[in-house]
């Protein structure tokens, strides 16, 4: 079982620069990532650019770990996009808005590959 964390998502500059370029390498390198605090990375035993698997009750996804000092312990940040959203429930609690932030998740190191955007979309077509 992985370590319990609180998952949030949001914008980054490079994500914004590639909004119209989402099938690119630049978008993949920026958005298929997960920012964590250094001490959380140490506890998990992952170094920068190593892969982590994140699971929620709605899905799981593999992304690259990135150290980010401003992220509080126990919180992970994935730039908004297909990888973050693979973990999000569609339930809007009657308000129209899914819970994109504050999702209970588990994280663990992995050797599994990160899905490219096209492969990730294919999983929805099965």
């Amino acid at each position: 079982m992985g370590t319990k964390v609180n998952l949030i998502s949001g914008r980054t500059i490079v994500q914004g620069q590639n909004l119209d370029n989402k099938l690119s390498e630049a978008y993949f390198n920026e958005v298929a990532t997960c920012e964590l605090n250094g001490s959380d990375m140490e506890k998990l035993g992952v170094a920068a650019d190593e892969r982590v698997k994140i699971k929620t009750s709605f899905g799981e996804v593999v992304v690259k770990a990135k150290e980010k000092a401003g992220t509080p312990e126990g919180v992970i940040f994935i730039p908004m996009g297909p990888w973050a959203n693979a973990l999000v429930s569609g339930d809007t609690h009657g308000a129209g808005m899914p819970s994109y932030k504050g999702i209970d998740a588990e994280i663990e190191p992995t050797e599994e590959e990160i899905l490219q955007v096209k492969a990730l979309m294919k999983t929805y077509m099965e």
């Binding site: 949001g10 914004g16 509080p72 429930s89 569609g90 994109y100």
Partner: protein
């Protein structure tokens, strides 16, 4: 080479309108000034959807505009509960035809507000919005609060053009005489610039708004030593800054709308603004994301009475976010066809909702290929609004601004694509006698 001045950026809700570009051989070759890194990337352009296409046996086959539009019209005319979604990265003129199409075929029309500031809309309908224009912020505000928003990444010119770093009529000294407060879960690039950074525990926004309200009304005794990870000392300092300011403003982002509490958080933020009015002038504004999400909310409201999540299947407008908003409709697997324009639910909807969208016939209208293209059945490339096509958009403070056309194109503009689909749909319905 021609230099074009007063170019308007069609990316984020700042809608910067003082950009200078160079155009050569019908291409934007240089962004000389005015745009941020994100806007510059938009103006310089990316790879395009080259031709209209229809999916056959699993892969997209190029076709003519006529064929793609005809196919799109057939799908929509045959659908029993179609969803028309997006509308935020195009111009109001196209949005208007979109509402007309929704009325014609009895569709649900929704826009990206339902996954960004939908909760803000609900809160505003509840308690109103004491707001102002960005011009007033620039010329008057001496206290800026960014709450759950990181303009350094998402609206990179916001501080420079309108808020903390800008210089205006009564704020000619710029940030020297201004204060910046940032409330966020992460110490973001914006937070690093702040005079006071309140690092809030994720999901505790409602509590902190309540504490600030209590302090602004003078009830210090009811506020505990720590609220949502923020010390009472920091809360008191923030309140002192609010009281001492001549004109304060809170800009809030998706850190507040995407979080537990949703519209209730915003109601409380607006009530905090009211509490501040007992001391000074204070205003509040949502940091709208897409450059024209405010515009589709305007158009949808003029045309139907409601800003988003409008169901027109009954023959009259039925507004109920949470029931007929796009993600809810998809989760319940209710819609049987979708038209997606100027947005990318493949990238920005929860996986759970994409699962249904990927299985029904989808028409995509967009200049660029994106995750939605992967499962779209009809793909119609559009001219880029603000580069290849002009039209009206609404900035985040609901000021209308006209996008300029910079270069010529063979691609058809969204408005015309929508009109042609509407004409085809009407022709099919007339033939069918319904």
């Amino acid at each position: 080479m021609v230099e074009i001045t007063d170019v308007v950026c069609s990316l984020c809700g700042c809608v910067c309108d003082d950009i200078v570009v160079e155009v050569e051989d019908n291409k934007v070759t240089k962004v000389k000034k005015g745009a941020c890194a994100v806007g510059k990337s938009k103006l310089m352009g990316h790879g395009r959807i080259e031709e209209p296409a229809i999916r056959e046996n699993g892969s997209l086959k190029a076709c003519s505009y006529d064929d793609a539009i005809k196919k799109a019209a057939e799908i929509l005319a045959a659908a029993r509960r179609p969803l028309l979604y997006g509308w935020s990265s195009t111009v109001c003129e196209a949005d208007k035809v979109g509402v007309e199409l929704a009325e014609e075929i009895g569709a649900v029309i929704d826009n990206t507000a339902s996954v960004c500031h939908g909760p803000s809309v609900l809160a505003i309908q509840d308690v109103g919005l004491p707001s102002c224009t960005l011009g007033e912020v620039k010329n008057r505000a001496d206290l800026i609060i960014y709450w759950g928003a990181n303009p350094a990444a998402a609206h990179a010119n916001h501080m420079k053009r309108y808020s903390y770093i800008s210089k205006g009529y009564w704020t000619e000294e710029g940030k020297k005489n201004k204060k910046l407060v940032v409330v966020d879960v992460r110490r973001t690039a914006t937070a690093k610039m702040a005079d006071v950074f309140l690092q809030i525990e994720q999901g505790k926004d409602y509590l902190v708004f309540s504490a600030l309200r209590a302090l602004l009304y003078g009830y210090e005794d009811v506020v505990p030593d720590e609220v949502g990870g923020i010390s009472k000392k920091d809360l008191l300092e923030t309140v002192k800054m609010m009281k001492e300011s001549k004109f304060g403003i809170t800009f809030f982002g998706m850190g507040v709308t995407h979080t537990r509490g949703r519209h209730n958080n915003i109601v409380n933020a607006i009530e905090m603004t009211r509490a501040a009015h007992t001391h000074t002038k204070f205003s509040i504004m949502p940091m709208r994301g897409h450059y024209n999400v405010a515009g589709i909310n305007q158009v949808c409201t003029w045309e139907t009475g409601f800003p988003f999540a409008v169901d027109l299947t009954r023959g009259y407008a039925w507004y109920n976010p949470g029931e007929v908003s796009a993600t809810d409709l998809l989760i319940r697997r209710e819609c049987d066809a979708a038209l997606i324009i100027a947005s990318d639910p493949g990238a920005h909807f929860p996986g759970e909702s994409i699962r249904h969208l990927a299985k029904i016939p989808v028409i995509q209208i967009d200049p660029f290929a994106n995750p939605t293209t992967e499962f779209a059945d009809v793909v119609i490339p559009a001219a880029i609004s603000g580069v290849e096509a002009e039209g009206n958009v609404y900035r985040m403070d609901n000021i209308p601004i006209r996008l300029r056309k910079l270069v010529d194109t063979e691609y058809i503009a969204d408005e015309e694509i929508m009109k042609r689909i509407l004409d085809e749909v009407r022709a099919i319905r007339e033939k069918g006698g319904n």
